[in-house]
Amino acid sequence: MNVLVVLPILIPLVSAVATLLLRSSVRAQNVIGMTGSALLLAASIWLLTAVHDGGILVQQLGGWKAPFGISFVADTFSALMVLLTGVTGLAIAIYSAAAVDEPRRRFGYFPLLHILLMGVNGAFLTGDMFNLYVWFEVMLIASFVLLVLGGERVQFAGAVKYVTVNLLASMLFLIGAGVLYGKTGTLNFADLAFKLSQTANPELVNTSAMLFLVAFGIKAAIFPFFFWLPDSYPVPPAAITALFAGLLTKVGVYALLRTFSIIFVHDTGFTQPLFLVLAGVTMVVGVLGAVAQSEMKRLLSFHIVSQIGYALMGLGIFTQLALSGAIYFTLHVAIAKAALFLVVGYVARKRGHTALKQLGGLLRESPVLAVLFLLAALSLAGLPPFSGFFAKFTLVRAGLESADYVIVAVALAVSMLTLFSMTKIWGEAFWKETPGGVPSADILPPAPTVENPLVTVYPTLTKASMALYFIPMFLLVAVTVIMGLAAEPILQMTGQAADQLLNPTLYIESVLGVQP
């Protein structure tokens, strides 16, 4: 059978184990951390080409036939998301080698990073509802520890909120799975899709669908379940925030797109208007929250919420074009967001804080950083020729075609506000002069005290660590530019992914191996 499907799960696991066993050597951890992510990227490219050319790949774990065993399925959608993990993972791993302090790395930063990547990939590739739960938890436990790693005081309150809300989401997920199993007697995606298409009365299925909506909605941070995100994401170091922003919420989006396109399609008259409303409100609330912020990390965290709305909008319109746009948008926003957080991380490192009022003069100090920020920010706001433009353009076109004018208007307005708050960061942090004179080039953080011995201590910036800071930013910004310039082939691929979601027959046949 096909080992390729499980490679994106195995490679991070091997890297995690290797870095865990070589915990004492920071150098070895850096090397393994980076090569492991590079290998993951290579495997994910390989997987995408294989799926693109050869159709859906399936691996039945342990040789147990579906629907009894656990299937891993790679269709175009999954493969694209795995590629996203590969790109983001590599960028973060390189960045972390410079930006994550030594106590954190000694405790096991890199093993946790790779376990997180494994969980994310597992969630993208699994073909089984319960297995999805398991990957969610793998991901969550790694992210919990990453969130509090370092033990700084500010981290705790944010982490408690994050853990509580996500645990609740997991419980609702479990209850939903229980109801669904009681109704259908299976939890395999393909088998579910097949059995539910044969079911006449969808009452209980709707109950379970709504439980899943809430569970995934919490993970994806859609309205009204987003409040935990702006409180917890800004707390850890920027490398970790970038990782979360790039991947964790996207797993929630992926789960929503996956389940509500191949499994819960029996009552679209009910679910689609619901999604459209949620999408609109999520966008507006997120962006209004962002406009009100004056601290970079919090501001960008609110934007995460706002952008999730666009992906949801695609799910609400539910045409081939809309789903294709939603998938393209998810890929785009993960990359652009991660790039922005990496830039912010460097600002925090240089200045010791990220409060917009006190920042300034960054354009003069580091023009390269300014340009990188500008490219990523314009892409996020949706200006041509960047990826954000084509993503939003596709979604808006889909909205116009299906005559959902309200959501289109909201999407365009929110886009303007996004641009506005990006120019705010640009103006405050990069353009204006530093208030109160030019600061020293490299502010050192406060020395550790008895009360708080773990204040993040960074090594001084050398040429090598500067390179480690900038290479990942270049990488991610380049990807978002290329995604814009090569929108045609990428949209063709996301279109294929959308086709597979809308016509699950192929998916069902590949997994169950029979003519349904």
Binding site: L13, L21, L61, G62, F107, G151, P453
Partner: protein
Amino acid sequence: MSAVILRIATKYLSPVLLIVSLVLLLRGHNDPGGGFIGGLLAASGLALQALAYGSARARRLLRYDPRTFIGGGLLLALSSGIPALLSGEPWLKGYWWKPELPLLGALPLGTPLWFDIGIYFTVIGFTLTIVFALAEHDEREEY
């Protein structure tokens, strides 16, 4: 804190727990038991030591850092999939090997057992990482 009863009890209980944990680990494939529950029992044996004599002693008995146990255990569990990969079967497909031993009869060994031993060590490592983190107030290394 001088908990005499706890200390005496620990002296006898903790080896028993370790042995029972091994029994559970080995019989898990036909009867209730397995790597997880065995690992938990073994970890509780060491946690008792930590309670009665302090976690420094439990750490000494463990010899390696519990996180190394997590890594080693995962490595074992992971490598149990390799025979399947080599023979072109799906990853983690089970293989059994039953050598005939004198007097004892057939001894079933297989990759599921191998996997379970990995889980056993991972669970010991994880549980003790948490137990030590809870027991050691002032060690700032943790979290």
